[in-house]
Amino acid sequence: MHPAPSIIAFSTLSGLGFGLLFWLGIGMPGSTGLVAFVFFAIAYVLAGGGLIASAFHLGHPERGLLAFTQWRSSWLSREAVCAVATLIIMGLYAVGRVFFAADWFVLGWLGAALSLGTVFTTSMIYTQMKTVPRWYSPLTPALYLTLAIGGGALLAGQVIWALGLLVLASALQLAWWWQGDRAFAASGTTMATATGLGHIGTVRAFEPPHTGPNYLLREMVFVIARKHALKLRIIAFALGYALPLALLLAPFSHWIGLTAVLCHIIGILTSRWLFFAEAEHVVGLYYGKR
């Protein structure tokens, strides 16, 4: 699949932002006043900035409000509803924290639940795609949620939780890669089932429908840099998981914390880039490609 930079930035940054909002919602840290303001500001820049970035890939962003209407059937619509509800509820909760040093915990826990709901709905947009076997797995929402909560814990300064969750996320990441590499073959979709000609013999694409590229090939059959996938996986794993974990074990200072967060973000951006670049859509079979 085509790795649109706006979508990669959105899913990584807003995942972190909603993860931080989760921790703020349950009162960890339970700071107030200016410190709380800084925490909420970081969370809103990440979550809201990610949402705005995602609007850039729309053909008609001016009709975006319509995307709130189909929550009964569409995960994308559910994500939009969840995200806005989270930002409103947590905004009210932040007012209490910042200006009144109050813990309106009902709002906080509701906002925390909605934060997780937002990350879950985001992950389900990809997980529901039976056409992309690599994504079509319960491991996808598990990885998204663990990464968001783990990254959120990193930002919220919850060192012990961050350690545990990042270890869990790294294990899920490895499991996700392992199952993803086998998913296409396991899906049972082949050129034989795509063309229905398998009962005659071995099917080979002889001639494409057109001599030039098209939307389908640009969007679904993105093959650039797949050859670097292993190197990129190593970079993603080292920066996203291993290095932040090592830094968290070192004696705490804000500079070390900041380095850990930046490493984590770059690593997860790389892993999210691979999430799209390595994903193979079954339509590629019609073109004899993967």
Binding site: G196, M220, Y287
Partner: protein
């Protein structure tokens, strides 16, 4: 509404005969011609006369080589457009309700006024039936020529999709696949019409008729009715070749 109807009264769709399609691409051209100037936004082209032309098409013809275990390879031309699936994954993913399946005839359509161009429906379609128009920034797909099939301003013979009307080898058939007595349903039953990617669970309405068995030029004796009357009287060469044959045998 992007929920699917539980059932549709009719299932209008196409039956495509892979045996008779000659791969002329006339359906591609007539589809583009009709649909660029009727229903919805035009089907734009980018750089049409330049080095890398690209454009929006609702129907494309692939060609496949099929190599049997035993015998010569076959070439199969393979037109592909929206299959108007009963269980259309492209409809339910739509966040705005722009994508819908009609209860009255099962046609899957896009309301271009409410499409935000997110592209999710194209991801959800396993067949590559949907293409985002690069100029209009909305999703385009086969409408089954909804503006022809009910159009009383056209002569009755023209009230079929443009691709069906234009096909010179009668490889494309249009009708109601919910009616077991319709011509298309009978054709599907007689020829073993099949679904593409059945494992994807999309329950496509359009059916494909597999190529018929080919003659085997290397096994003509099996089908040559004259062979018994033309049995060779001798398999030994005569004259000079006969002498040469015997001479070489003796060396």
């Amino acid at each position: 509404m992007t929920t699917l109807p539980s059932s549709t009264r009719r299932k209008l769709g196409l039956v495509i005969d892979l045996d008779t399609c000659v791969g002329c691409h006339a359906c591609v051209v007539s589809c583009k011609g009709w649909n660029t100037e009727n229903y919805g936004a035009p089907l734009s082209d980018q750089d049409p006369y330049g080095a890398e032309p690209s454009g929006t098409f609702l129907n494309r013809v692939h060609s496949y080589e099929v190599q049997p275990d035993d015998g010569t390879a076959q070439l199969v031309h393979f037109p592909k457009s929206c299959l108007h699936c009963d269980n259309a994954p492209c409809v339910t993913v739509c966040p705005t309700g722009a994508s819908y399946k009609r209860q009255e005839d099962g046609i899957v359509l896009v309301n271009e006024d409410t499409c935000i161009g997110c592209g999710l429906c194209a991801w959800a379609c396993p067949y590559g039936a949907r293409e985002m128009d690069a100029a209009a920034k909305v999703m385009k797909k086969c409408t089954l020529c909804v503006d022809r099939i009910y159009n009383e301003n056209l002569p009755e013979v023209d009230r079929v999709p443009a691709c069906v009307r234009t096909c010179p080898s009668n490889a494309r058939h249009f009708g109601d696949l919910a009616d077991p007595d319709s011509d298309v349903s009978q054709l599907v039953a007689a020829r073993g019409g099949m679904d593409l990617m059945p494992e994807q669970g999309t329950a496509p309405v359009n059916k494909y008729l597999p190529p018929r068995l080919k003659d085997r030029l290397d096994r003509t004796e099996e089908i040559d009715v004259l062979a018994p009357f033309l049995a060779p009287v001798t398999d030994q060469p005569k004259g000079f070749l006969g002498w040469l044959d015997k001479a070489l045998d003796k060396i």
